[in-house]
């Protein structure tokens, strides 16, 4: 959501160690990062504080996951072996069999960069090409009358509680 970036970031993990020289803290085991509707899970997370406002987080997992609810009620879910979050331009970079799923399409590539504010997605191929699948629902929603839109709102509210 728009308001996410103003929320405080909460990081939970089994253990964490800080290294003041390199301004990095490392969290290990069931790492869960939440900020507003954003939720990041991973086995290991390394947070680096460069200059203020330019913090960076590198999450790795099998896979590491990213979830965010957008203003239009459509959630975005992403997965990859490695997810880097750059606060400066509010961007996440997924690499090694990365996949990004929206309500009406899912998308896989070797690396995906996703800008949270502009929702811009960039993808690059690895051994196999990038793959986008538009699900019929996405095609339907364009056509469906008002009635079905309500149904989507209802389901998402439930998920959010």
């Amino acid at each position: 959501l728009q308001s996410d970036s103003k929320q405080e970031i909460v990081i939970r993990a089994n253990s964490n160690t800080a290294d003041l020289d390199s301004n990095t803290t490392t969290f290990l085991g069931n790492v869960v990062v939440t900020q507003g509707s954003i939720k990041l899970t991973a086995n290991k997370l390394v947070g680096i504080r460069h200059k203020p406002g330019e913090e960076e987080m590198i999450a790795t997992g099998n896979p590491a996951t990213f979830y965010q609810m957008m203003d239009d009620g459509k959630p975005v879910e992403a997965k990859a072996k490695k997810i880097r979050y750059l606060k400066k331009n509010n961007q996440i970079i997924l690499s090694q069999n990365a996949s990004l799923k929206q309500l009406d399409s899912n998308y896989t590539a070797e690396t995906i960069t996703y800008n949270i504010d502009t929702r811009q997605i960039e993808g690059q191929k690895g051994e196999n090409q990038t793959r986008t699948v538009f699900l019929p629902a996405q095609v339907d929603s364009k056509k469906s009358s008002k009635s079905s839109d309500k149904s989507i709102d209802k389901s998402t509210n439930k998920a959010a509680q």
Partner: protein, 750 residues
């Protein structure tokens, strides 16, 4: 006369080796159930993607698939909101019906439409291909091409091509329409057409558009240019302009319509002041059927020509050169479950012969009443007919006829016994002219009433057995039949002949109640007809062999005769009738029939037809037909009324060269009715045929006076066929049906 084509085996492209060689490059048609674009997933593969809100940009070996549709390109941009996509660079698109390559495609996935620019297209399953600056895919069945070309020749073969400002292709109707088109042969523009449509499938009208050139002794050099106009899915029209050097310009128009309860065809043909006879020559033909709810019916079948030799000199799609009686009839009827009523008028235009009586009008009523009282059925037939005649010194009259009938049909699997008792009551009011055309008119009376009963018992047994024949297992059926018929004698010399003449006898005809057609002579009879028929059925229950033989035995001589019978038949039996058919292994087909005058120990009628067939376009048929001359005017005929040997053959030398032949010879008068030979060369997308046809011109002098009615007409016809522009699939029977005799295969029973 419409030809009987091979029973249903439409020639598909795949059968012909030549076609396989020519069209190996053509992709198969992939038929898929109509997928709804709204419910089918779209998958896009690419080397890289970038997207913002709902516009996606794909770059590098992009491949989009949706159901059967597949699009490849260098780049693709897609807006998921407007669902519009644009592909650029090295584009390949296919949807199972057409394959397209080009520089740019704009597609709208929401309604299945697309426009492709600078395109090459290739239809699946047929040879049609070409280029197009702009190709619009409206849906899977409809395409529009602008500044485009079309040919069915394989790539690199420049035999012919059509280039047009616009093509509309309708795969559903299997029809294409071109506007502002020019026709090119080997890169030379040959014809220009403002508008024309042509079939792109095999079942639409074919063999049109292509001009044909012929030269005949009758009409000199003739150039025929047909133009096909598809007015609506259920109506079409063909206009043919035939310019003949020695006669002038002959315009033939045909309009066909197939509406829900009305169908039919209208033909008008006109030749303005024929140079040879300097008269105007025309033909009118209307064949129509109305059927409303099965109850109301209106039919017409009317043909009129300007002069007797119209078909003979000009030829026409409506009548055959040898036709001599043009039916002009119309009838309207109301039908119910157990009765029907009809009003009919009927006239003829007889070419050469004398005009017959005219039915103006006939009112008929038929009633059927199956009483459920132990199987008895009652029928009633009533008719009032007013006969007229163009020749004033021929009698005319009105006939009132009533015929109630009681039937007792007893049937079981193994036997049947059918008893019929009817009573025929007829009244004539005749007007006899004072100057008479024939002496027997003098015996006619003004008012005549005739009434007589007719009784018959017709029984038969059905036997069967399993048997072998030439190594095959067959079920043989055997059906002996006996029929006793009694009709008392009435002197009918005072009744005129309106629609009565002797009926020809075949095995089925032996068991009729009547010797004459019509009602004006009811022959007395006290006779027994005996007959037996047998057939061999193979394991699929199709007849492979049939034989039937029968004869009538007169217990009492029949005293009824026609005025034209000069010799009274005093035998005590009719002629022996036998007929046989066989279809051996779908290779040998035979039909034969004889009528033997047992007392005079000679054939009165005989015919035999044998055909050896190797393939649909490889067959030889031999036939012989004989009808003995009637006793009383033997001198006019050499031997028979008909004494004719005929042969037809179709022979492919290889899959490009083939020949057809047809030869009919009148053995009595030692001259050929028809000598026809044709040769055809076929290539991938065109074929050319040359047919030499020499036939006897029909003369309308009296039958039997031979000398001055022997006039030959010969012609050579050169025909180009452009496959893919004039439809596909040409079966031998249509080419074999050129000339006087259309082709018919003996024993074509399934």
């Amino acid at each position: 006369a419409p030809a009987e084509s091979f029973e249903g085996n439409v020639i598909t492209i795949a059968d012909l080796p030549l076609t396989q060689r020519c069209y190996a490059y053509v992709p198969e048609v992939v038929l898929a159930p109509d997928i709804d674009p709204n419910t089918t997933e779209v998958e896009v593969l690419s080397d890289s993607t970038s997207s913002e809100a709902n516009t996606f940009v794909y770059k590098g070996n992009v491949k989009v698939t949706q159901g059967l549709k597949e699009l490849k390109s260098d780049t693709l941009t897609y807006n998921s909101d407007t669902q519009k996509a644009q592909a650029l660079g090295n584009i390949h698109f296919t949807d199972g019906q057409v394959s397209i390559t080009g520089a740019q495609i704009d597609a709208d996935l929401s309604n299945d439409t697309a426009t492709s620019y600078d395109t090459r297209y290739q239809f699946h399953g047929k040879g049609g291909r070409g280029k197009s600056d702009e190709l619009e895919v409206l849906d899977r069945e409809h395409y529009n091409l602008y500044e485009a070309s079309y040919t069915s020749c394989p790539p690199g073969d420049k035999t012919w091509e059509v280039r047009a400002k616009q093509f509309e292709i309708d795969n559903e109707e299997e029809l294409a329409t071109a506007k502002h088109a020019t026709f090119w042969i080997q890169d030379v523009p040959v014809f220009y057409f403002p508008y024309f449509s042509y079939p792109i499938g095999s079942n639409r009208k074919s063999g049109f558009l292509i001009p044909s050139v012929s030269s005949s002794s009758e009409n000199g050099i003739t150039y025929e240019q047909p133009i096909y106009w598809n007015i609506a899915p259920n109506q079409d029209a063909t206009l043919t302009v035939k310019t003949m050097a020695q006669r002038g310009v002959h315009e033939l128009a045909e309009y066909r319509y197939l509406l829900p309860s009305n169908s039919g065809k209208f033909n008008a043909e006109y030749l303005d002041s024929d140079k040879k006879t300097d008269e105007d020559r025309y033909l009118l033909h209307w064949n129509h059927n109305t059927n409303v709810g099965g109850h109301f019916r209106f039919n017409t079948n009317y043909t009129k020509v300007s002069d007797d030799n119209y078909f003979n000199d000009l030829g026409s799609t409506v009548g055959a050169r040898t036709d001599n009686q043009l039916l002009q009839t119309a009838s309207t009827a109301w039908l119910e479950k157990n009765w029907n009523a009809e009003i009919e008028v009927r006239d003829f235009q007889v070419l050469g012969g004398s005009a017959p009586h005219v039915v103006m009008p006939k009112l008929a009523f038929n009633g059927y009443y199956p009483t459920n009282w132990n199987h008895i059925e009652a029928d009633i037939f009533a008719e009032v007919t007013k006969f007229d005649h163009k020749d004033d010194n021929v009698y005319v009259g009105t006939r009132y006829h009533l015929q109630p009938k009681l039937l007792l049909p007893l049937y079981s699997q193994a036997a049947f016994l059918n008893t019929e008792l009817s009573y025929l009551l007829t009244h004539y009011q005749q007007t006899i002219p004072d100057t008479v055309k024939a002496s027997w008119y003098k015996e006619l009376d003004k008012d005549v009433t005739r009434s007589l009963p007719s009784f018959s018992m017709h029984g038969g047994l059905n036997f069967e057995r399993e048997t072998q024949f030439l190594g095959g297992d067959y079920t043989q059926t055997l059906t002996p039949q006996v029929k006793y018929l009694y009709v008392p004698y009435r002197d009918q010399g005072n009744i005129g002949l309106y629609d009565t003449s002797p009926l020809q006898l075949d095995y089925y005809g032996l068991f009729r109640d009547q010797r004459y057609s019509g009602i004006d002579r009811i022959a007395d009879a006290n006779q027994v007809t005996v007959g037996v028929s047998t057939s061999y059925l193979d394991d699929k229950f199709t007849d492979r062999f049939r034989f039937a033989i029968g004869q009538m035995f007169y217990l009492e001589q029949s005293k009824t005769s026609l005025p034209s019978d000069t010799i009274i038949n005093d035998d005590n039996s009719s002629s022996l009738v036998a007929q046989t058919d066989f279809n051996f292994d779908d290779k040998w087909f035979y039909h034969g029939g004889i009528e033997v005058d047992t007392s005079g120990r000679e054939f009165s009628r005989g015919n035999t037809t044998i055909e050896r067939r190797w393939a649909w376009n490889k067959l030889v048929q031999l036939n012989y037909r004989y009808i003995k001359a009637p006793e009383d005017n033997k001198n006019t005929y050499v031997k028979g009324v008909v004494n004719q040997i005929g042969t037809k053959a179709a022979w492919p030398f290889n899959d490009q060269w083939s020949a057809i032949g047809s030869y009919y010879y009148d053995t009595d008068n030692k001259r050929a009715f028809e000598t026809l030979a044709g040769i055809k060369y076929e290539d991938c997308c065109w074929a050319v045929s040359l047919v030499y046809d020499r036939h006897m011109k029909t003369s309308y002098g009296r039958i039997g006076d031979i000398d001055n009615n022997y006039d030959l007409s010969s012609s050579i016809k050169f025909q180009i066929e452009l496959k893919g522009l004039a439809g596909f699939g040409n079966n031998a029977s249509s080419s074999l049906s050129q000339g006087l005799f259309s082709y018919g295969r003996p024993f074509s029973n399934k």
